[in-house]
């Protein structure tokens, strides 16, 4: 059965999207990402170092844009203006690639999205031809608003970035999903495999994570676990879980019991 993820006119076999930050080195980054099976990988955009080693390797040498969909993010931006500048630079850097992960942060402590600035940036970026995957709060009204503005994917947080606390409000994610017409991808807060499975069982189109893999004791092994968790969660969602009941229901028939 074809169960591809359709995103911005492209299809993907993997529903796991991964970040490339916080790894020990590029080799560990590449090995973990290969183990995860992810086809979409995020990168950050930063100033080049001036006066340092010019032979320093570039992450794009390890993760070729020919092999992966490179998703530049606007991490570290606190205003719409900064985020838009970053997206424009990223587009040139990646040879005209319009797909971006927009995140406009509120403060350094929570890294919660600044939603007024996120909405402002979304409006300008969509107008400028960007395909925006937007990191946002798990507010169903704002999620729908972002979809209506033309985002190709809406990405509510499960819990704060890098916290590993898992999905703190599954009911909100369900409410977002019930109204969504674009892929809803849980972004941020996943800590371990079961968190990813829960997101997929709720009906999310995918899960985006970084720290859960990069900061596991064994990142490559955790990447493999996350791959399976996303696949099994998706399969369970498609299979349709049994109804929850308040009381027991025997699995073995009563008929034919010995007396």
């Amino acid at each position: 059965m074809d169960d591809s993820l359709n995103l911005a006119g492209r299809t993907y076999k993997s529903r796991l999207l991964v970040g490339t930050g916080k790894y020990k080195d590029f080799e560990e980054t590449r090995s973990s990402i290969e183990a995860s099976g992810a086809e979409i990988v995020t990168v950050a955009i930063r100033r080049t170092n001036i006066g340092q080693d010019s032979s320093e390797p570039n992450i794009l040498d390890f993760l070729s844009p020919d092999k992966f969909t490179i998703l530049p993010n606007t991490a570290g931006c606190y205003t719409a203006e900064e985020a838009i500048r970053t997206c424009k630079l990223a587009r040139e850097l990646l040879g005209g690639n319009n797909l971006v992960k927009l995140e406009v942060l509120g403060d350094k402590e929570t890294l919660y999205p600044n939603m007024p600035e996120t909405l402002k940036a979304t409006k300008d970026l969509v107008k400028d031809g960007f395909e925006v995957m937007v990191y946002c709060s798990d507010d169903p009204i704002l999620a729908k608003e972002l979809e209506g503005m033309g985002c190709v994917s809406v990405m509510p947080l499960a819990s704060p970035i890098g916290s590993g606390l898992g999905i703190q409000n599954p009911h909100n994610i369900e409410m977002i999903l019930s109204k969504a017409e674009v892929p809803i991808i849980v972004d941020a807060g996943v800590g371990t495999a079961s968190d990813a499975s829960i997101a997929m069982e709720l009906g999310c189109a995918g899960v985006l994570m970084n720290t859960a893999i990069a900061k596991a004791q064994k990142p490559i092994q955790m990447a493999q676990a996350m791959k399976k968790a996303v696949e099994s969660g998706r399969q369970a969602y498609l299979a349709g879980r049994m109804e929850k009941k308040s009381y027991a229901s025997a699995s073995s028939p009563m008929k034919g019991l010995i007396k």
């Binding site: 970040g19 490339t20 990168v43 001036i50």
Partner: protein
């Protein structure tokens, strides 16, 4: 002339272009993007773009991030 590049003062010969600036700073020319005085310079025009005194540049690359 004096430029501001990624927040640093950089001195370069008058009439230099961005390609020459990247050479001088030993920054590889591929896999970077450049903003000049707040405007992103298209890749196709990048290297030949002539700089002027007091220009402000941001030169960026991709790094690991989530």
């Amino acid at each position: 002339m004096l430029l501001r590049v990624n927040g640093n003062s950089v001195e370069i010969n008058d009439g230099s272009n961005i390609g020459e600036l990247l050479d001088m700073l030993e920054i590889p020319k591929n896999k970077v993007a450049v903003e000049l005085n707040g405007t992103v310079i298209p890749n196709s025009e990048l290297l030949g773009k002539v700089l002027e005194d007091k220009d402000i540049l941001e030169i960026v690359r991709a790094i690991g991030g989530g």
